[in-house]
């Protein structure tokens, strides 16, 4: 499958893949955050679907419930929940990613209650008690799914789903290695488009797409970019932003994005109690600023990724009113600068095309600073 054809054209809320799945009687269960072990959804024979807004610009319905002080990504998602775009979902799993997300779901449910709703409560730090609690949460989630969808999920089902996900992660790392090359064979916008699309697919099918892309691009000569960039930050499913950055000559050779590499950080051996393994792996590898005592871990992860990809600069991109990323960005800028990596912090409005001119100017200036200017 060609990356440009196979991925970007399908980057839609309701993809052909989802339509086909539904036509064949499949159920779709949505989730919002990388803290959600999608293996449980897969083991139940359902399609895990990550909620997204894909730069949807309208928020007129959502604005009646949320406020202009709430992040526009959440307002866009709520809009799609309220206007019926998401009516194809058979259920939603909420997790307490951030304050915006929490109130977004409360409003969503009042206006358009999904057929199935479950609140997965994710602790904000990794510790013995929080891990035990999270494992209990996963057990409750599994039970709720089984009861509502009248399915059984055995340990063997979970283990099989976990093995498939591990394969997906392995292949994603292969893809990232192509992006890290001196002459990258795949760019950042393509990888983002792929991962967004993959977040609406079953693992076996996404694995096939990923393998196809890796096979197709493995022998590609690639081009030497003017600047090697890394993108960090919040939930960004706007491929166009990545494209704009890359159109200016900077190539995103690595990322620590919520819709990107951060969604593939979990790693485990499939031996042992599956829910325990999942709880431990997801909670320990949640490189999100919502984890309050773990800034050092996030910084090290970003530094390691940046060094491995030999990046010349890091762009931290987040939506206005996102305090989680906004505060982390200040520390990151300080710490990465100490390591000799320049950082550009870009606070932006989600889906606001009017913002693009301002942002482009700042990126151009940053590229000049790091020596990648035209």
């Amino acid at each position: 499958m060609s990356v440009s054809l196979g991925v970007q054209e399908q980057a839609a809320i309701l993809t052909d893949y989802v339509v086909d799945w539904k036509d064949r009687g499949g159920k779709v269960l949505a989730y919002t955050c990388v803290s959600m072990p999608i293996e449980i959804i897969e083991a139940a024979g359902l399609l895990p679907y990550r909620l997204k807004a894909l730069g949807h610009p309208d928020t007129y319905l959502a604005d009646g419930e949320l406020s202009p002080l709430n992040c526009s990504f959440c307002r866009s998602c709520l809009q799609l929940g309220m206007d019926g775009t998401y009516n194809f979902l058979d259920g939603i799993i909420e997790s307490n990613g951030c304050d915006h997300m929490r109130v977004m779901f409360e409003n969503w449910r009042r206006v358009n209650e999904p057929g199935f709703f479950h609140y997965l409560k994710v602790p904000h730090f990794f510790g013995e008690d929080s891990l035990e609690y999270f494992e209990g949460e996963l057990e409750l989630l599994k039970e709720a799914i089984c009861e509502h969808f009248s399915v059984e999920v055995s340990d063997a089902d979970l283990t099989a789903a976990m093995e498939r996900q591990q394969e997906v992660r392995r292949m994603f790392r292969e893809l990232c290695s192509l992006r890290r090359r001196e002459r990258p064979a795949v760019n950042g916008s393509e990888v983002l488009a792929l991962t967004i699309n993959g977040s609406s697919m079953r693992s076996e099918d996404f694995l096939e797409v990923l393998s196809g892309v890796v096979e197709e691009r493995e022998g590609a000569p690639g081009e030497t970019p003017r600047a090697r960039l890394m993108l960090c930050g919040a939930a960004t499913d706007e491929v166009k932003w990545f494209e704009e950055i890359e159109r200016m000559g900077g190539l995103i050779v690595a990322d620590a994005q919520c819709f990107g590499a951060r969604a593939f950080c979990q790693d485990y051996d499939t031996g042992g109690d599956p829910l325990r393994v999942l709880a431990e792996s997801y909670l320990a590898n949640l490189f999100c600023p919502r984890m309050y005592t773990e800034y050092d871990k996030r910084r090290d992860f970003i530094l390691q990724t940046a060094r491995r990809a030999n990046v010349e600069g890091v762009i931290v991109l987040y939506n206005k009113f996102c305090d989680l990323h906004g505060v982390d960005a200040v520390l990151l800028r300080r710490d990465l600068a100490e390591e000799g990596i320049p950082v550009l912090i870009l606070e932006k409005e989600y889906s606001a095309r009017a913002d693009i001119g301002r942002v482009k100017t700042r990126i151009q200036a940053f590229m000049e600073r790091i020596g990648g200017g035209a």
Partner: protein
């Protein structure tokens, strides 16, 4: 001997406010109207509203003089504690300070109290501390209270915290982040107490474990084991203050409300900084006595009580005079805000474990933590405000939006609608900030409240006009 105030440019909010407040130590216990006016004219215009806010209303004045002296005492005590080698621990106003007071070697200082003092006592109202924080790149959507405090400590010399306790994780993103940032920037430890967004027994049990872990960490940090006897003393004082608080709540139900509006601000300070100590009991007792006496004599500041307001979030605290006495003089009684909704369970002091259980219950249901850290923010917020409105007989609500509080901003439409359905009480929504007047000046807040009371609240309270029959023929 009272030290002469020395104001240095680099001093932080703590020292500067303390030096300025020391002036009030020179006040006699009773001061006249003329003396209040004289002081108000003497001080910096930014502080004038604080002087008038505290001392303008005669029957509250003696209490307010005593109150400010107790504020000075506790701040001086924090300084002394630090000088004597105790560790100063910053806590937010959603954390019971009595837990820290129970330690011999620790001393709590509430971050919002420092911001509140800076805003009300310093020329420039602490804005430069906020501006400094913005200057280092922090986002402008953070909480002004905590960010101002952090800004002040990053800016200059003075009393520095030795650690930060944050119980905001789980209930408030901006504060949890700014606490973590401050700890990192100052290179001091941070101890967290996460609020699980889970109101079930399972959530409460986890919270209790977290609290016990916090205590263990504090014990290690303080170099002492939490003494059962000391804990008992603090818990008993805390419980006594809770009894007085409950009495206070009952007094608010009377019409007209015998409780001075400014007492709401006093209580906020007492709960945040002095709970678990004798001073809180003494001041609360005096406030209860004053209110009881007013109830007995029927004394009310205005000719008539025209509105009973419940503030569904937090007060505007940057202009004490413009908010509290201004409304009181117009017959608008302020019955409380979200931080006034306390649920104190009965205390069991039989063992250390029973007292820790009690503290864990108190902290779990602490105002703001309870609502914003709930399984469903909007439902818990509605439940509590609706209870307060009905219990105290409020006839309107005012929400003054705080740009950092994304959860209330995103739940307000629901709250306003449902409050109207459940209690028939209308809500005035104002964009503003508790600590930074630059968001919305007090003149605009007053104008909106006056219009709301005149055009909406008073009319609803008046006799219903019968519709005239149309003329026959």
């Amino acid at each position: 001997m009272i030290p002469t105030p020395v104001l240095r440019e680099g001093d932080n909010a703590f020292e500067r406010t303390l030096n300025i407040l020391d002036m009030i130590y020179k006040f006699p216990d009773h001061i006249s109207d003329e003396e209040v006016e004289g002081v108000a004219n003497y001080v910096n215009p930014d502080i004038r509203n604080t002087v008038l806010g505290l001392f303008e209303i005669g029957s509250a004045r003696d209490l307010e003089v005593l109150f400010v002296k107790k504020v000075i005492d506790i701040l001086r005590e924090a300084q002394r504690a630090k000088a004597e080698g105790k560790k100063v621990v910053f806590v937010p106003f959603t954390f019971p300070p009595e837990i820290i007071f129970a330690f011999e070697n620790l001393f709590p200082v509430c971050t919002e109290v420092i911001a509140g003092l800076a805003v009300n006592v310093l020329a420039g109202q602490g804005e430069r501390f906020w501006d400094f924080a913005m200057g280092i790149g922090l986002p402008d959507s953070l909480c002004t209270a905590n960010t101002m405090t952090v800004g002040s400590f990053l800016m200059g010399p003075g009393l520095k915290p030795d650690a930060i306790v944050s119980n905001s994780p789980g209930s408030c993103n901006p504060n949890a982040k700014i606490h973590a940032f401050a700890a990192d920037y100052l290179g001091i430890p941070q101890f967290i107490l996460e609020k699980p967004v889970d109101d079930s027994e399972r959530g409460r049990e986890l919270y209790h474990k977290y609290l016990c872990d916090l205590i263990k960490n504090l014990e290690e940090f303080a170099g002492e084991e939490l003494s059962e006897q000391r804990l008992r003393e603090v818990v008993l004082k805390s419980s006594r203050a809770a009894d007085l608080y409950n009495e206070f709540w009952e007094l608010r139900k009377a019409r007209p409300c015998p409780v001075h509006n400014i007492f709401n601000a006093n209580i906020l300070f007492l709960r945040s900084q002095l709970w678990g100590r004798d001073e809180a009991i003494e001041l609360l007792g005096k406030m209860v006595d004053i209110s009881k006496e007013r109830l007995r004599t029927g004394e009310y500041t205005a000719p008539k009580e025209i509105a009973r307001v419940y503030v569904s979030y937090i007060f505007a605290l940057f202009d004490l005079h413009g908010f509290f006495p201004w409304m009181e003089k117009r017959g608008i009684s302020i019955l409380g805000d979200i931080l006034a909704i306390h649920f104190f369970p009965p205390v069991d002091t039989s063992s250390k474990e029973s007292m820790l259980r009690w503290l864990s219950e108190v902290t779990f249901d602490y105002p703001m933590t309870r609502q914003m850290g709930a399984s469903e923010i909007s439902l818990k917020w509605l439940e509590d405000i609706s209870f307060a409105v009905k219990d105290l007989g409020a006839d309107c609500c005012v929400y003054i939006g705080h740009h950092a509080c994304k959860h209330t901003a995103g739940s307000l439409s629901f709250l306003r609608r449902e409050l109207m359905k459940q209690t028939k009480v209308p809500t005035l929504t104002l964009v503003g900030d508790s600590f930074d007047k630059r968001h919305t000046p007090m003149s605009i807040i007053q104008e909106e409240i006056e219009l709301f009371v005149d055009k909406v609240v008073s009319k609803r309270k008046g006799p219903k006009r019968r519709k005239k029959a149309s003329t026959p023929g």
